[in-house]
Amino acid sequence: MSMHYFANPARFTRLAGRIQPWAGGLAALLLLVGLYLALVEVPADYQQGDTVRIMFVHVPSAWMAMFCYMFLAGASAVGLIWKHPLADLAAKASAPIGAGFTFLALVTGSIWGKPMWGTWWVWDARLTSVLILFFLYLGYMALWQAIEDSQKAGKAAAVLALVGAVNVPIIKFSVDWWNTLHQPASVLRMDGPAIHSSMLWPLLIMALAFKAYFVALLLTRMRMELNLRRIRALRLAERTS
């Protein structure tokens, strides 16, 4: 099967239409199970009490924030190198979803921080990195918005996404570096390596639920964008004929 097999919008729309309800259903099911386990089954932490349950939303959101950016950069690379027409579309569609997860990670991190540190915001290395990632998403979306020609916008945004992808590890490293200089190591970490196994399962289920939700939402957004383009093309044809 060639790289461009699914470049045919009709074929893609059909396939996406078939996958979408399954992804959506799976997301709903996993979310229900995950939330039940996280909110009811998992015992309260002996130190943090019930606040620990925020972790089951916060940690998967933070994972998704990273995952979406990787997806975005990957799609951008495919779009730039192989000029696959759906790749730009996928990149564009994934950005607001990623920004949403990033925002969720920031808000839940902040809510979790209040009882733990007694303040809504701490310049913790992890939170700071996520905040910068949020800015990268905003820049990416703003660039898409600012360039009118959608093909040019796609290419420019793809260049930006790749530049961002090269920079994400550097930024992460520099923020960690900065953090070790400015904070004593005794500060309580949000999620240390020691996660009790009873917490691991709900966490993984929630992470999978988020992934499935991402797939469902991505396909919806891509189909919507395709339809918008089709309308634009039809209007253009109408006007020029």
Binding site: S150, Q151, R232, A233, L236, T240
Partner: protein, 202 residues
């Protein structure tokens, strides 16, 4: 020989032209004709490698120009809608800059100003030039450094009769040296032995 075979070009999501063939031999001039929006500028910018072809091939002596675009750019001059003339610099400096970037010699700069009759404006800052003088300064680039292929997009805009005559002489001299010209123009350039390429709106 500069040749295009079965070329198609897109702007945005629209196809501007397709199935276009042309050929320019040494010493030949090809004039593009057609109504506004038929793709004359697009074709010239494509020939200058500023745009990519959607289909087909542009070749120079049989070699695809996309194989080494830098080499192709070095052998062409492109005069577009924008003059690339800096108001803060004098006429001479404006011409000298491009001659130097293209590795040309001093004497050609004088020759270029003489060819377009702007020697007397040599030290005038370009911001004080009239539109026609501005244009002449831009066109003087053509003579200031050698290039085999001239791509001219409406070169006579804002030129007076004298200016147009200067351009005609420059083109004639260029062709006599075996140079090629591809020009989009809606007025008669008064050139001998010209081939026409008619573009049709899609």
């Amino acid at each position: 020989m500069f040749q295009g075979r079965d070329i198609a070009c897109d702007r945005g999501e629209r196809r501007i032209f397709s199935n276009l063939d042309f050929r320019i031999m040494q010493g030949q001039a090809l004039v593009l004709r057609g109504p506004n929006g038929c793709g004359k500028t697009t074709l010239l910018r494509t020939a200058a490698t500023l745009l990519k072809v959607a289909r087909g091939k542009l070749t120079w002596d049989g070699t695809d120009i996309s194989e080494d675009p830098e080499e192709h750019r070095a052998r062409l001059h492109f005069v577009g809608h924008l003059d690339a003339v800096k108001g803060a610099l004098s006429v001479r400096e404006n011409i000298a800059i491009w001659a130097k970037v293209r590795g040309s010699t001093e004497d050609r700069i004088e020759a270029a100003m003489a060819a377009f009759e702007i020697l007397h404006l040599m030290d005038t800052p370009a911001q004080y030039l009239s539109a026609g003088q501005h244009r002449r300064t831009a066109l003087a680039r053509l003579v200031a450094s050698p290039a085999a292929l001239w791509l001219l997009d409406e070169p006579t805009v804002s030129l007076d009769a004298d200016g147009t005559a200067c351009l005609q002489r420059a083109i004639a001299a260029h062709r006599a040296d075996g140079g090629m010209v591809m020009a989009a123009t809606h007025i008669e350039l008064g050139l001998d032995d010209v081939e026409f390429l008619q573009l049709k709106p899609q």
